[in-house]
């Protein structure tokens, strides 16, 4: 189906947009706390949209595996971001103030 192909490509492009937003936040923000915050939120949404677009593009994919990967990303990326902030707080890195 051709329109399914186009819809999947559109969803994947929106996911790549959110990944680029995460990269811009990682480059431009001034602090470890701000950077981990931007990375966690935008990257989770971006990788979820990439997986859904791939599932729409490919007809004979197993949705159980894709759902499992989405749940895994939802668990692990915020845990890693929390680890960054926890380690920065424990090691005494001071937050950025304008």
């Amino acid at each position: 189906m051709s329109w399914m192909n186009g819809l999947g490509t559109l969803v994947m492009i929106s996911g790549a947009f959110f990944v680029v937003v995460a990269a811009v936040g990682t480059i431009k923000f001034p602090d470890v706390y701000c950077r981990s915050h931007a990375l966690s939120k935008a990257l989770t949404l971006g990788i979820m949209l990439l997986l859904i677009g791939y599932g729409l593009r490919t007809p004979d994919v197993s949705w159980i595996k894709l759902t499992l990967i989405v749940i895994f990303q939802f668990v692990t990326i915020p845990v890693a971001s929390h680890l960054f902030s926890y380690a920065a707080y424990k090691k005494g890195i001071r937050g950025w103030s304008p």
């Binding site: 559109l10 994947m12 790549a16 990944v19 990269a23 990257l43 692990t76 890693a80 680890l83 090691k91």
Partner: protein, 100 residues
Amino acid sequence: MTLVDVGHFILWLALFAAIGGGLWRLIVGPTTLDRMLGFDMITVTVGGLVLVFSAATGSTDYVEFVFILSTLGFLSTVAYFYYLMQLSPTDTNFNPEEPP
């Protein structure tokens, strides 16, 4: 060159730009935590790149590879922070304000 090929080109360009941003943060990050943050971002984005490749070729053989890749990145991050938490606060091996 159809419209879907243009979409693939945009996807390659965007994800490689994101990996370049992560590499830049990995190189110039002022503390070691910034470097680990760039590493974490690169692992997840490489998973997205594998997804774009398998969507362009239409195969379903690489879905498990995304899972394994994100698992390895997360476990290496956790192992690094476990090592970092074992150091005492006055250890000279870790100075948060200077590059290691």
